[in-house]
Symmetry: C2
Subunit: 131 residues, 2 copies
C-alpha cells in the first residue's frame, strides 16, 4: 500500500484592473482573509476544482485560467500538509460570498488585509513575477 | 472529515545537450519507460520529493530545478487519480537505474520509446513550450 501523502488544494489569484485582487473572508478555521480555493476531489482535475471552488465561494465563473505555481512547504497550512496549485485567472461580474466564504471582495494591492496560510507570500511572489 | 482527494506525485524532465531526455524503465506496473518520479510523502515538499525520487531511480542529484506544469486529468494514471507536479531540471553525471527503475538512460528527442501514463503528452507540451 502507498504511504499517505499530502492533501491537494487549489487557489485562485483573480485580478481586476483598478480593483486589485479578489479575496474571501473564511468561515472555517483558520479565520481571516484568503485567496478563494479549496480541496481537490478525487476524479476532478485541478482546473475543474478551482472553477468549482471559486463559483461556490464568490459566485464568479473563471475565464483565462493559467497555472501560476505550486506551493508545498509542509508547514504552510496549520491544518496539516496541504499542497496548493495556484492559478491566475480573470473573472467578470460582481463577487458575493457563499459556501465557506462569509464575504468576497476586491482589495487594492496597496491595502491587502492580513492573509491566512502563505497567501501573503504567494501574492508577493505573483506581483514580483508580473513586475 | 475531508473527502479523499487524488494522490500527489512528482516527475522530472532532465535534458542534456546532445543526449536528449532522461527516462527510466519501470520495475512496477504499468511497465515501460517513463520520466523519473514518484509519490510525494506527507511532510515533504514537491521539490524535496523530486530530488529524492530522481536520486533513488537514477543516482543523479538535481540542479536548477524549476516547475514546469501540473497534470491532473483523472484518467492519466491507470492506478487511480494521481496528480503530478512536473519539474524541469539539470543534472550532471552518468545515470544508473536503481530502486523502482530497472534502467535509466538518455533518449534522443527524435527516438523516444513508447511512454507510460501521459508522459508522451507531457514531453510534447514541454518541447512546444521550449520552441
Amino acid at each position: 500500500m502507498l504511504p499517505p501523502g499530502p492533501r491537494l488544494a487549489v487557489d485562485a489569484i483573480i485580478e481586476r484592473p483598478g480593483r486589485g485582487v479578489l479575496l474571501i473572508e473564511r468561515r472555517n478555521p483558520p479565520p481571516g482573509w484568503a485567496l478563494p480555493g479549496g480541496f481537490v476531489e478525487r476524479g476532478e482535475s485541478c482546473e475543474d476544482a478551482v472553477r468549482r471552488e471559486v463559483r461556490e465561494e464568490t459566485g464568479l465563473e473563471l475565464e483565462q485560467l493559467t497555472q501560476f505555481r505550486v506551493y508545498s512547504e509542509p508547514a504552510r497550512d496549520p491544518r496539516g500538509h496541504v499542497v496548493s496549485v495556484v492559478f491566475a485567472a480573470i473573472a467578470s461580474g460582481e463577487p458575493h460570498g457563499g459556501d465557506d466564504a462569509r464575504a468576497a471582495r476586491f482589495f487594492p494591492w496597496e491595502a491587502l488585509p492580513p492573509l491566512a496560510f502563505d497567501h501573503g507570500k504567494i501574492l508577493h511572489e505573483y506581483r514580483q513575477r508580473q513586475g
